[in-house]
Amino acid sequence: MRLTTLRLQNFRNHAESFFEFGNNANLILGENGQGKTNILEAISYLCLTKSFYASSDAVVLRLGTEFFEQEGTFVSESGNENKVRVAYDKQQTQKAYFINKKSVEPFSTVIGKFPVVICSPEHNPITSGGPEERRRFADFVISQASSVYLKSLMEYRRVIKQRNKILLDARIGNMNPSGLLESWDEQLLQHGATLTHRRKLFVDGFKNILHSSYHELVGSEEEPQIEYSPFAESFSSEDDCRRLLKTLLVQNRKEELRVGSTLIGPHRDEFVFTVNGLDLRKYGSQGQHKTFLVGLKLGEFFYLKNLCNETPLLLLDDIFSELDERRSKRLLDFVGTISQTFITSTSVKWFEPFVEFNHTNRKFFIKNGSVVPEEEVIVA
């Protein structure tokens, strides 16, 4: 899939901007705060109906204006053209999403139609942050492939909340909640086993994808690995997993009542990332963290590509500043050939030696929310 045109109106600092993108690499260049990332953000609106980091639609509205709009043309591999428009009205605090002038609701039906993989500094916590960041990454990728997983995940989260409330009430009120707890245990076991089993299958398959993506960046000198460590060491099937979870739940009942929350289950899982056998979180350098993150994101890209029968767009926000020249070059050589890629950077110097600019590889210079000719921008 390709995004051939993009028009922004009153979006962040863009009053009115228009782009015709190349089929391979699209470099978006400019100094800090000029509006480069905003363009990736607008693409995110078209693909996912929302920003990949803004907390609400109101904050991306250009100051002093009443509405914003993005419009883009997607061309699928089979040549089908889809015009997508997102419009937000400040007065009604309402957003609408259109495909070929037809309003689409609910927004969740859009997910997966225009697949996109985004790698930005917002995602750094996946490798450096707490376990919940890695669970969120895995859940996000698996959910795109399986709505059954997503549904199970949402129900599981609610069961945990309800169950924790019982445990907490019991601790405060000093009472025995066993009859009540058991009413929720059944669902905890059912969804808990489904999630754990599917996460295990996902990691088993994702390992190889990560491996090959990582090697594209660094060659074979570093060995990346992803290990899933759920509550049980090993299990052979979903039923087996459920049995183990049940045993542990019974064993931990006293402790759960003492602390007032659910201690066993996939909401406490960890995914451990290692490079050459060393825990990335403890021993990884900045550059290794970034490389691993890009490896994960490329893994996500190939995983999605296999499932969607449509090549996702790749949005790379400011990722070259932390990679060395060799890794940058390998990444650039690679991404341009696998997908239409959108890259933001403060400097063109990274790219000029490797990228030949023509109608498939394009560069755009952004200054103060507008696209300007190269001469107007002083690029170091």
Binding site: S147, K151, Q162, K165, G179, L180, S183, E186
Partner: protein
């Protein structure tokens, strides 16, 4: 405040209703103001009447103007069958099918610790009290939510030892719908509980 105090008060009352925000409340208040007085009295009377005349049935806890309700006092219905539901809307839904001839029991809600709803807040004691007689089967017809599921499990554990047949509604594909448009979670559930033909 730009309006009179009585208007503000009416807006306040309307906006305390479910699904009504301040803007809608204001619109309703303005509408009331424009209506002829007899029409407004009619609305007010209807509000008071519903509160005065409608009670809970002492047997099944459904809404009723008579006590016991028309379903509970109807001797043509199968009195050995009780269908347990969450709220009165569910009774209406099942009655519309004209396929069920047993009695009902309305719990009032489903278990939800987060909302502070425990077993003592549902009409469970009343259910246990009712079934001491000749009841042969209890159908648990809760909503397909995690709260409904927890309520089903809670009740089935409570009722099983009493000896009557405990059943629950089947889950699967809506009648008359295409497989391709059925959501994946429902389809997956229907696959799990497939039946032999």
């Amino acid at each position: 405040m730009y309006t009179a105090e009585s208007i503000e008060q009416l807006v306040e009352e309307f906006s305390s209703l479910p699904g009504i925000g301040r803007k809608s409340a204001h619109r309703l208040a303005m509408h009331i103001l424009k209506l002829p007085k007899p029409d407004v009295v009619k609305i007010a009377e209807a509000l008071v009447n519903v509160k005065e005349r409608i009670n809970y049935c002492n047997i099944c806890w459904n809404f009723t103007e008579e006590n016991p309700c028309r379903i509970c006092s109807n001797h043509n219905r199968n009195r050995s069958l009780i269908c347990v539901v969450e709220d009165p809307n569910d009774v209406i839904a099942i009655e519309k099918t004209h396929e069920y001839k047993g009695l009902y029991h309305v719990l009032g809600d489903a278990l939800s610790p987060l909302d502070g709803i425990g077993p003592e807040d549902l009409k469970i004691k009343e259910l246990l009290h009712r079934i001491e007689g000749s009841v042969q089967e209890i159908i648990l017809a809760m909503n397909a939510s995690i709260e409904g599921e927890a309520t089903t499990i809670y009740l089935s554990r409570l009722l099983k030892p009493l000896g009557m047949k405990i059943t629950r509604l089947a889950r699967g594909i809506p009648v008359g719908s295409d497989l391709e448009f059925t959501d994946e979670a429902t389809l997956a559930r229907a696959l799990q509980s497939r039946t032999e033909v």
